[in-house]
Amino acid sequence: MKSNRRGYWPVIVTALAAAMFVFLFLYLEQQWEIVLLAVGLIAVLFSSARFGLLRRVELAASDHPRTTIMVNVLAALLVIVLLRNEHFALLMLATVCLYVTICLGLTLQFGYAGIVNFAGIAFFGIGAYTAAVLSLHSALPHLLVIVISGLVAGLIGSLLILPMLRTRGHYAALVTIAFGILFRTFLEVNDLLGGPQGLKVPGMQVFGWSLNDNISLGPLGAVSFYASYAVVALLLAAGAYALIKRLERSWLGLNLDAVRTDETAAASFGIDLPRWKIFAFTAGNCLAGVAGGVYAMMSGFIAPASFNFGDSLLLVSIVLLGGSGNPLGVLPAALLVVVLPEKLQVIQEYRLLLFAVLVILILRFRPEGLLPRRMREYFAGWGR
């Protein structure tokens, strides 16, 4: 296989354009500006898909996977620097990154292995509550607490493994739906976890440095403490993205696809269905749990009301809207779904209704999503 690589300039141009877009989207406040940007984003995605521009960018990105992630992380850091003292914008940016992380976990579960998870927000919540309890009642270093949050989410998820493995389709969907509702009700009635009032969570400390302190960075002037959390959330999302992408470009990704597309055929060719389902389900829940841990420390306060069944539906909608099985699609989808309702007070009240209608339209007329998944490319220059 000759490596006939393309240049990476389309990646850089796109990353800069995306950074400008995200900055404006978060910074501008006029309602008409926001609407224009949102409509613009969808129009650009669709038209560049139609005229093959998107394909060129995707090819360039897949030829330079490492450069792509680096460039995009740098571009996102640039956005953070530009927004350095905008508390609300930074909080939203961090929230988008955390939602991206959960949705990458769901992509692993649903997009690849075909396991429906209607309890995404519950595993996020388990991570958040674990982090809250551990940072309130123990002296463990916070980075470790976040890792444990992910592990606990994976571990509690394993309670569902037996019913998940034995059931299929609609029966399997019921298992996670029942769990999501059970979890929410449990939080509400459990006094140890603060009941409906929830828990206060101390801010994150990394190597003796408190992320909740406002900092002053020389010529940049005052920087909101949310900037630190945005960086943490960004690194988490980027790490999860790199991991999922690597997984997809390996035999592991192929095994998961085989499990999703046809269980009988997969079993007839030696693929151990339980092993790969457990792997995808647990890894996905761990990602959601880690994101939950960061979320708890960032928001300083968690309550059952943040972990509704409706939020799980929102997560599934992001995955579908982006294009099931395409991690790249998760990015614009999460940005739209998380930020748009926060920025548009006009639709704030109507946001769930609008999402419901949006998802119905997508499922009805474009079930493959904004950025449909491409063929697997095992490494740079694949198939050329």
Partner: protein, 305 residues
């Protein structure tokens, strides 16, 4: 424990069981003819109750004061409106997705349910708050020890059981029932036999949704209150009941409905904090799914290889 107290729990459990069974029968009917899960079903229950409520407001404006008459009118209106809604939903959202992955249907109906819920919350006057539901049934009651036997509860149980039996007879004894069973058995053959597939599907969805409306109104009359979010839990419970009973089985749905009500009742008696009853019931459902992955009564049809 005092026997009257236990009887009170039992009576309450039976009313709940009837409501759940009515919802579950809808799920099982839809699954039977089309192999789909219509997840907006719970919100149809809610919309049925709100349609009845709106009708009652209209009757009040007209000055109708007779309780029984009003009860009949609002029930008929709720049932008719939901039957039409159910058929429309099948026609516009579910049938077009017939060849898509089954999960897409589940999601599109979940989203339709969300839209319905939000529409009521936003557009029904003061819809985001719980609404009192009128007490239209005779309020006679009999007190035996600690048990307060209310006439309206008994009426609701009789009405609900009657509706379920009627649906059962409709499916077993009538021509349209025969067509529904034929489609459930094998859609292709049914089509070849000259059965209008689409019509049967639409009628089944109308029938199931009508039953949902009745469940919603029963729920409203029993608790004297409805709210826009009531469908979510009722839908999940109805779905659980249908799945635990075995999708596609009418008896399974009825058994599942009463089983869920029993679990909740046991949970409520068992735990000092009554709110744990749902945690308990759903945990039991998850365990049941691990034990009987295709429900209690479903005939396990082997996949063709």
């Amino acid at each position: 424990m005092d026997p009257g107290f236990i009887a009170q729990y039992l009576l309450n459990g039976i009313v709940l069981g009837v409501i759940y069974a009515m919802v579950a029968v809808g799920f099982t009917l839809f699954f039977g003819v089309l192999d789909v899960i219509k997840f907006s079903h719970g919100d149809v229950v809610m919309a049925g109750a709100f349609t009845a409520l709106a009708t009652y407001a209209g009757l009040e404006l007209l000055g109708v004061s007779d309780g029984m008459f009003a009860a009949i009118v609002i029930t008929v209106m709720g049932i008719a409106a939901m039957a039409i809604l159910g058929a429309l939903l099948a026609k516009l959202l579910i049938l077009p997705l017939r060849n898509a992955p089954p999960l897409n249907t589940l999601l599109i109906t979940l989203m339709f349910g969300l839209a319905l819920r939000e529409a009521v919350r936003l557009f029904y006057p003061n819809g985001s708050n719980p609404k009192p539901f009128p007490q239209l049934l005779p309020d006679a009651a009999m007190t035996i020890g600690n048990l307060e036997l209310r006439l309206d509860s008994v009426l609701l149980i009789v009405l609900g059981l009657g509706a379920i039996v009627a649906v059962h007879l409709l499916i077993q004894r009538t021509r349209i029932g025969l067509a529904i069973r034929a489609v459930a058995q094998d859609p292709e053959t049914a089509r070849l036999m000259g059965i209008n597939f689409e019509r049967v599907v639409l009628m089944t969805f109308a029938l199931g949704s009508a039953l949902a409306a009745l469940a919603g109104i029963t729920n409203g009359l029993y608790y004297s209150e409805v709210n826009f979010g009531m469908g979510l839990l009722l839908g999940v419970i109805g779905f659980s009941a249908a799945v635990v009973g075995g999708l596609g089985s009418l008896y399974g749905a009825i058994i599942g409905g009463f089983l869920f009500a029993a679990l909740q009742t046991i949970g409520a008696v068992w735990f000092s904090v009554p709110a744990y009853k749902d945690v308990f019931a759903f945990a039991c459902i998850i365990v049941l799914m691990a034990w009987k992955p295709t429900g209690l009564l479903a005939d396990k049809s082997a996949e063709r290889v």
